[in-house]
């Protein structure tokens, strides 16, 4: 199927994109890599009158070092995030998760900012961004603001980005040298997880940060497990015991891929695996 007719704008600067967005308001939709938006338009689940393509705005692409953080431009593709030296060194968890997004063709087009703005609870990048304490830089015609990860994800497909705003970049506090693993449980190889766990640990184990994918309407932290792991040693029994608390406070969906209690079971098992692998113990 092909989308309903729309008008197409291809701004070459952020200022142009923002003024087009405020001019067309609700009738407009931002196009990043299109890997989620185009399927939505083709299935005619949405029919914007105007599509504003960010593809021509070079300043939104790329990854830079900014002292205690790395900064990832919203239009940086999953493919680049996966392989980038700064990401591997300071936010290994993101590299591991980006490698698990969709398939090679989609990773060549899909963007970091687009995936986070889309906020699919089954998307693979929300949980690692949350676990790493990402900060979201959002710009509107009124100015720029920064939103903490805890406040960014609002609900299913809903974030703190306003209708007239654009996510421009994401700051990831450096987690230099932390071990990391993204454990994804799928039914179809190149698709969204039934449940996934993003774990990154300092030493083995001084500190652990764990994000859960598809365990509620937004990505979640496994806080009780994180607390139990702080200062624990990375033994199989110890980690598995801490992982027993991974599903606390979650509210996963029941759907054709699994019931809520099955997902909670998966969260516990996958958390154990993810932490052991992140700590280099499995």
């Amino acid at each position: 199927m092909i989308p309903v007719k729309f008008d197409y704008l291809a701004p070459t600067s952020l200022e142009e994109a923002l003024s087009a967005l405020s001019e067309h308001g609700d009738d407009a939709k931002i196009l990043a890599g299109g890997q989620s938006l185009l399927p939505v338009l083709r299935m005619r689940l949405n029919a914007p009158e105007v599509v504003i393509d960010l593809g021509g705005i070079d300043s939104l692409r790329g990854i830079r070092d900014d002292g205690d953080a790395i900064v990832i431009g919203a239009m940086t593709t999953h493919h680049v995030v996966r392989d980038h030296e700064l990401v591997r060194e300071h936010a290994l968890l993101l590299s591991k998760a980006a490698a698990e997004v969709a398939d090679s063709q989609i990773r060549h087009r899909g963007t970091f900012g687009g995936a986070l703005a889309h906020a699919d609870p089954a998307g693979d990048l929300g949980a690692p961004a949350l676990a790493l304490g990402a900060q979201f830089v959002i710009q509107g015609s009124g100015g720029t603001r920064t939103v903490e990860a805890d406040d960014f994800f609002v609900d299913l497909f809903e974030t703190a980005i306003g209708d007239d705003e654009i996510l421009t970049e994401v700051r990831i506090p450096k987690h230099t040298g932390w071990g990391a693993h993204y454990e994804k449980f799928v039914r179809v190889a190149h698709q969204w997880p039934i449940v996934a766990v993003a774990a990154t640990v300092k030493g083995s184990i001084d500190e652990a940060r764990i994000g859960l994918t598809n365990m509620g309407s937004t990505p979640l932290r496994a806080r009780a497990t994180e607390a139990a792991l702080a200062g624990a040693s990375a033994t199989e029994d110890g980690v598995r015991a801490a992982a027993e608390q991974a599903a606390e406070g979650t509210n996963p969906p029941t759907d054709l891929n699994g019931a809520a209690d099955y997902r909670q079971h998966l969260a516990r098992v996958l958390t154990g695996r993810a932490v052991l692998r992140a700590a280099g113990a499995a």
Binding site: P3, Q105, I106, R109
Partner: protein, 169 residues
Amino acid sequence: MTPLTLEWLMTKIELTVDGAAVSDDVEPRMLLVQYLREKLGKTGTVIGCDTSNCGACTVHLNGTSVKSCNVLAVQANGSTVTTIEGLADAAEGELHPVQEAFRECHGLQCGFCTPGMIMQAVDLLAENPSPTEEEVRLGMEGNLCRCTGYHNIVKSVLHAAGQTEGAKA
């Protein structure tokens, strides 16, 4: 449905497809795969699904593989596109080594998935010239085949890489 308050303009695009410069006025909603097939007659690139899952429509956009059913033609403005039809040109009528390998190793049955499989395999080998069997399977995960059963497809890619099957796996 909201009333049509805007004029639905055609958008001019200029790009290079299989080595030739082309330019056209297209509707913004036209998909790259439609443009290739319906405007340029390049029916070697096929459509196998409605959900961007199957990979049959895979082409190279500025040198990397994409699913052309999930890219708008207007997004390809100013780009270079290579389809299965342009793959062998450099070798002057000879098959591309990956095409040759698919023929050699019986990497197809009905052949419907083959253009996409070959374009993805070329991308995979450009990034990783000597993959293990597992790396081939992972690298081809976005391409579905309903008949060959993948075994010979994987063999073909390993053959093209100059590897005997399983040598590194």
